[in-house]
């Protein structure tokens, strides 16, 4: 929370025009391999001081608590192993990749 809420705000809704809401994208992103990779590789995740296991816990907590939509029952939990696999490649082109993910599947409006 300390590291994330400063920009993403405590409930994840962000600031329009500055920080996108994560509330409407957590579940859609976590539902695709590319999206899961993105959630781990964004600098805020990848460069955080959390261990792979802690980061997996945080991502799972966010999906359970910050998502504006219910989690589908088949949505896999993040594990330390999965996080470790993605995390070693930091993502620089965040806006570019995010735009592609948002275009690739229907995303409900931010709330």
């Amino acid at each position: 929370m300390l590291q994330c809420m400063g920009c993403h705000t405590p409930d994840g809704r962000g600031e329009p025009g500055h920080v996108p809401s994560i509330r409407n994208t957590l579940v859609p992103f976590a539902n695709t391999p590319e999206g899961r990779k993105f959630l781990v590789q964004v600098p805020g995740s990848a460069q955080s001081k959390l261990s792979d296991g802690e980061l997996a816990d945080v991502l799972n907590w966010m999906i359970d608590n910050l998502s504006a939509m219910p989690k589908p029952p088949q949505l896999g939990r993040f594990t330390a192993v999965e996080v470790a696999a993605y995390r070693r490649t930091p993502l620089v082109l965040v806006a570019t990749v995010r735009a592609r993910l948002v275009a690739a599947q229907p995303i409900p409006p931010a709330q």
Partner: protein, 186 residues
């Protein structure tokens, strides 16, 4: 606003208010929900010589050690317990308060956060230093209690950014800083 830590009231006070904080940069990675570690920020306060601060001088009051008890619960004092990591003008001296903005300004949603110890109830609280934006700098009660600062390339702990950068329509004109309680630090 957590970025102008070089505007200090004098080298004696500046030296007094610095303590060794290196260990906390690592421990701040711990999250507060679902993880057991608690980053506790000691609240060692520097004391300014009497007469060098106060609302009339434009500097936040902070007296010698024996006055600290008086000031630690005064929201317009630099020694106020919530101000353990603040850096900017105190909104309480500018028409707002420790948790509200002066009239006609906008509170920035993006901000710097820290953890401060409340001596009254003995708890540690997560404090968010939301800036109030959209007007020229207030100029009253400058308080710099910067600790654990990181360079600009580590933004979430950098006090050198103008955190009014994310303030919606008012944008970057920085006016003053609040110290909002977000939660108890578990």
């Amino acid at each position: 606003m957590k970025w102008l830590d070089s505007l200090t009231e004098g080298s004696a006070r500046a030296l007094a208010k610095r303590t060794s904080r290196r260990g906390f940069i690592g421990s701040l990675g711990a999250i507060l929900v679902g993880v057991s570690t608690v980053p506790l920020l000691p609240v060692a306060r520097g004391a300014s010589p009497p007469g060098t601060s106060g609302p009339s001088t434009g500097k936040a009051p902070g007296g010698p050690a024996d006055d600290k008890a008086k000031h630690v619960n005064d929201p317009t004092s630099c020694d106020y317990w919530r101000h353990c990591a603040i850096d900017g003008y105190l909104c309480g001296c500018c028409g707002g308060s420790e948790n509200s903005c002066p009239p006609g300004t906008e509170m920035s949603a993006i901000t710097w956060v820290g953890t401060c110890h409340n001596p009254v109830d003995g708890r540690d609280y997560v404090v968010s230093y939301n800036d109030c934006c959209g007007k020229s700098t207030c100029g009253r009660c400058l308080c710099n209690r910067n600790e654990r600062d990181t360079p600009l390339y580590v933004p979430f702990q950098s006090n050198d950014y103008n955190w009014c950068s994310g303030s919606g329509k008012t944008n970057i004109p920085y006016h003053c800083s609040t110290a909002r309680i977000v939660s108890v630090a578990k």
